[in-house]
């Protein structure tokens, strides 16, 4: 009995410290904003706290519909978009592509896909969004780390996402998204592109998840661009495998045309 109590005391002390004394074992340093021994890599002892988070269980399918608005672009970004639009119109409405349909759209369009559901996994210090589409994984760090300076960040499809909970709303801040990826209907952004998401259940219907996105870019956008995605829950649904190269009926020709086989 006494031994049990001693173990409990030891555990409590461990929690307060954020972890036991940790020698650096791998090659990576603590991320920006965190000290040695802190962060999502030290999850043990923090799982019970997850039960206070909202109920986002099951998988989520995007609801279709809703009017899509056009971002207000600046300068070259506007003229490039005008040229893109003319090109699409001249091509029977079909957009030419400079990369395979087997490469994912990246943020933020990866959060707006109609055919492939999502799931949200909570674990200490992070929220992981598994996406059926291209079997993509998105990590939102909720362990208090900050963004690295932009110049130190490798631009990626998903960018670098940090988040925190405001009540039952997950607030996510993302930078470092590759500037070759259109963010809305052919519109491109600069490397200063910044996405904020507020993700929460619909108070009137807990089987609907809402993602209110605001996109800002001092070089490409004349004003913040807002887009809202809603998702419906399938409590027993699962994500299916997605191995695009195994069933790629839509290769891209040298002219950028999507081929249908």
């Amino acid at each position: 009995m006494r031994r049990t109590r001693n173990i409990l005391i030891a555990c409590a002390a461990t929690l307060a410290l954020g972890g036991l004394a940790h020698a650096q074992s791998g090659g990576s340093s603590p991320p920006e904003g965190l000290a040695e021994g802190q962060g999502a890599g030290f999850a043990k002892g923090h799982y019970a706290a997850l039960d206070s988070l909202p109920d986002w269980g099951g998988v989520w399918f995007l609801n279709r519909g809703g009017p899509s608005t056009q971002p207000k672009l600046k300068g070259d970004y506007q003229s490039n978009w005008d040229a893109w639009k003319a090109d699409v119109a001249a091509n029977n409405g079909v957009e030419k592509r400079n990369r395979s349909n087997c490469s994912p759209p990246g943020m933020p369009r990866i959060m707006q896909l109609a055919q492939y559901p999502y799931e949200f996994i909570f674990s200490p210090g992070r929220v992981t969004i598994n996406q059926e589409a291209w079997m993509q994984t998105r990590t939102i760090w909720t362990d208090g780390r900050t963004h690295p300076p932009l110049e130190e960040l490798d631009p990626t499809y998903m960018g670098h996402s940090i988040g925190h909970w405001e009540g039952d709303t997950l607030v996510v801040d993302t930078i470092g998204i590759l500037d070759m990826l259109p963010f809305s209907n052919g519109a491109l952004h600069s490397d200063k592109f910044h996405v904020t998401e507020r993700i929460h259940l619909n108070p009137d219907n807990p089987d609907v998840l809402v993602n209110e996105m605001v996109m800002e870019d001092p070089e490409a956008l004349a004003e913040p661009f807002k887009a809202t995605a809603t998702y419906r829950r399938d409590r027993y649904g699962v994500l299916y495998e997605f191995q695009c190269s195994e069933n790629n009926r839509n290769p891209i020709s040298p002219d950028g045309e999507t081929v249908f086989e």
């Binding site: 957009e95 759209p105 896909l113 492939y116 059926e132 649904g237 249908f260």
Partner: protein
């Protein structure tokens, strides 16, 4: 091209159905979403796999057979409306409703199907 136009004429062109898939693995602009075509066909292959399920069919046209490829939405999405991997098998005689490719090739986007037992999935006439 001539043969394609002929075969399209041989098919009943139906009124548009209200189905407009949004952002997906690729744009739907290659399909004429304002047209729905009915195909009486025999299944040669049914592929239940991301990014899109596919139905390959033989369509008899004036004593000859044309091979058509019909793209569907994702298996997971289809499952939500009652589809299964075993819903179709080679040899099944079905009636398919599709939005045809704009370029006249023998392909289209799935709208609905009448199965051999008379039951239907999706939107049919």
């Amino acid at each position: 091209m001539k043969a394609i136009i002929k075969s399209l004429l041989a098919l009943a062109v139906l009124a548009p159905l209200p189905l407009a898939p949004a952002a997906a693995h690729h744009s739907y602009a290659m399909f004429d979403m304002s047209k729905t075509v009915e195909l009486k066909a025999t299944v040669t292959r049914f592929k239940w796999q991301n990014p899109h399920a596919f139905i390959e069919i033989d369509v008899p046209v004036k004593g000859q057979t044309e091979r058509w490829a019909i793209e569907m939405t994702s298996p997971n999405n289809l499952q939500q409306s009652g589809w299964k991997r075993t819903s179709l098998k080679p040899g099944d005689k079905i009636t398919l409703y599709i939005h045809p490719l704009r370029n006249g090739s023998k392909g289209g986007s799935y709208v609905g199907v009448r199965l051999p037992d008379g039951s239907t999935l999706g939107e049919v006439k």
